[in-house]
């Protein structure tokens, strides 16, 4: 009788222990919040050493070394001084383009360091083709799924989505 009277209590304890066990065994993920990093189109001028000074457009400060990209573009060292480039921050990545470039480059910062990875994300022209004209980066699309729009004279626009993939249309 006594054993029967304890059954509900044991069940309650077991269920409570089980629930508490479930609660403590689930690993809590990092707290997140909404953070959209974009910018308008920012023009920069390349310095003699192949870098651009972000302080050219406050409140941005710092430097971005484009030497590796310039080398990949076939720009001889020392001849890039005064070259105009445009940059745009889109979903936390920086995109760099210029009429003199063959590609649009994507630069992904490494938070907490002074380095970033980079890659060509869109081929604008082949090696033996004349430079493009009126190259322009814009932001295009809907509020939570915008694209980086790449326009140039004589060609249809190309859209780079939030994952860094080039597409013919912005979803």
């Amino acid at each position: 009788m006594v054993e029967r009277s304890f059954v509900p209590l044991v069940m309650l304890l077991l269920s409570t222990a089980g629930l508490s066990g479930c609660a403590t065994s689930a690993t809590p993920g990092p707290a997140t919040l909404t953070f959209e990093q974009h910018s308008l189109r920012i023009p920069f001028t390349v310095d003699a050493d192949g870098s651009v000074s972000l302080a050219e457009h406050p409140p941005l400060v710092g430097r971005l070394d484009l030497s590796s990209i310039l080398k990949a573009e076939g720009v001889r060292p020392g001849t890039a001084s005064g070259l105009s480039v445009q940059m745009m921050l889109h979903y936390g990545r920086l995109y760099v383009a210029s009429n003199a470039f063959h590609s649009v480059w994507e630069i992904t910062p490494h938070p907490g360091t002074t380095s970033a990875s980079y890659r060509p994300v869109l081929l604008l022209r082949a090696a033996d083709v004349a430079p493009v004209k009126d190259l322009r980066l814009s932001r295009y699309g809907s509020a939570h799924a915008s694209c980086l729009r790449v326009d140039r004279a004589g060609s249809p626009p190309v859209f780079i989505n939030s994952s860094g993939e080039a597409q013919d249309a912005c979803p």
Binding site: E36, H38, L40, R41, D134, R136, S138, R139, Y140, G141, S142, A143, S146, R149, D151, R152, A153, G154, C170
Partner: protein, 391 residues
């Protein structure tokens, strides 16, 4: 046939160029339009900025994909539009102010309200100062930002107010009072003395110019006479020796230089020669005495340097030359030439003295003329001061 070829070539050229011209241009995006509107606003081109902002609003309204987060519509355009509206409001007020100020600008009748030109210009200065203060008050009441005030100064409305203050007021003044001022000079008894003084100064000036012309003519005659006398003197002191050929482009040597060269030539000629006859020696010594007198005359007339050293060297040279024996010491008529030359020299000296006196008289006369002109100037200053006091 050539025309047909040309037409075909033109057609081919058009076909070749047309695709290039027809290459689609990149349409302006909101950022382009936004930058353009800001630049136009900064340059004071408010109407163009209004049109560009309108175009931007139309673009993002018809194609909201160009403004995903409503950054342009909700955050960037409102402050730009607000600044533009403030500036447009001020320019409208300034336009009204310019029109009203010109309409209300009625210069007073000069014969009734004004007695002097100074009073009239004081009135103009007062009006301009009042209008400027009114204009600045309009701007200060509407704009707080110094940058916006700077932009306003680039607008056409503000430039119109500047024209009003710098040109229009004075132009209105001259239009209404120009004839009155002329009449004032002709009829005001207080200013009549100014006209009298102007006429007198004009007469004095004409007289001074006439005297100056006459003096210039006299000076030219004196110069010609002096040159003639100097030429004659030159013939005398150099015993008629031909003048050395001067270098092209350089002035001919003067009396002093010719005399010096003449002495050097004589010395060189004697140094080359051997013995002398006695008569030649006497003639040379007599000539050297003449050279001494020439030298004194030239020095007295300030026509040359002292050539005593050369003359004495020449004398020593002559004295040192051997004399041939058996020749009479003096030749008849040997002193005839020196006497005639001495007479010529005396005549030339007298003529030079007369010329110097005449020149001195003319220089004094000229100086008196200059003093007279300075007196006119000082009298003018005094008269103007007196007239201004009278006015």
């Amino acid at each position: 046939m050539p025309a047909r070829s040309a037409a075909v070539a033109a057609g081919l050229l058009f076909l070749a160029v047309a695709p290039l011209r027809a290459a689609p241009q990149v349409e302006a995006d909101p950022h382009d339009l936004y930058d353009r509107a800001r630049a136009q606003l900064a340059e004071g081109e408010l109407e163009k900025s209004v049109a560009t902002i309108s175009r931007l609003r139309g673009l993002i309204a018809n194609r909201p994909e160009w403004d995903p987060e409503h950054d342009f519509a909700g955050r960037l355009l409102p402050p730009l539009q607000a600044r533009l509206n403030r500036l447009l409001d001020v320019t409208r007020k300034l336009d009204d102010y310019s029109v009203r100020s010109l309409q209300e600008l009625r210069p007073p009748g000069i014969e009734k309200d004004m007695s002097t030109v100074r009073d009239y210009t004081d009135w103009a200065s007062l009006v301009i100062r009042r209008l400027r203060e009114e204009r600045d008050a309009i701007v200060a009441a509407a704009l707080r930002d110094p940058e916006e005030e700077m932009i306003l100064t680039r607008t056409e409305s503000y430039r119109k107010t500047e024209r009003l203050l710098q040109v229009d007021v004075l132009q209105r003044l001259s239009e209404s009072a120009g004839d009155d001022i002329l009449g004032l000079l002709g009829g005001d008894p207080q200013l009549e003395s100014v006209l009298v003084r102007f006429r007198q100064l004009k007469r004095d000036l004409m007289q001074a110019v006439s005297e100056r012309d006459q003096l210039q003519k006299d000076a030219r005659l004196d110069r010609e006479r002096t040159e003639a006398v100097l030429e004659a003197l030159l013939e005398v002191v150099t015993d008629g020796a031909p003048a050395p050929k001067g270098e092209p482009g350089r002035p001919a040597p003067g009396v002093a230089d010719r005399f010096r060269h003449f002495l050097d030539d004589r010395q060189q000629a004697l140094a080359r020669g051997g013995s002398l006859r006695a008569v030649e020696r006497e003639a040379l010594l007599a000539s050297i005495d003449r050279y001494r007198r020439y030298n004194r005359v030239l020095l007295a007339a300030r026509l040359g340097q002292d050539e005593t050293a050369r003359i004495e060297a020449l004398s020593n040279l002559v004295s040192g030359l051997p004399v041939e024996a058996g020749v009479p010491a003096s030749a008849p008529g040997g002193s005839g030439v020196p006497v005639s030359i001495a007479c010529g020299l005396a005549l030339a000296t007298a003529l030079l003295g007369w010329l110097a006196m005449a020149r001195g008289r003319r220089i004094r006369s000229w100086q008196r003329s200059g003093v007279h002109a300075a007196g006119i100037g000082s009298r003018e200053d005094r008269d103007v001061g007196d007239d201004s006091k009278a006015a």
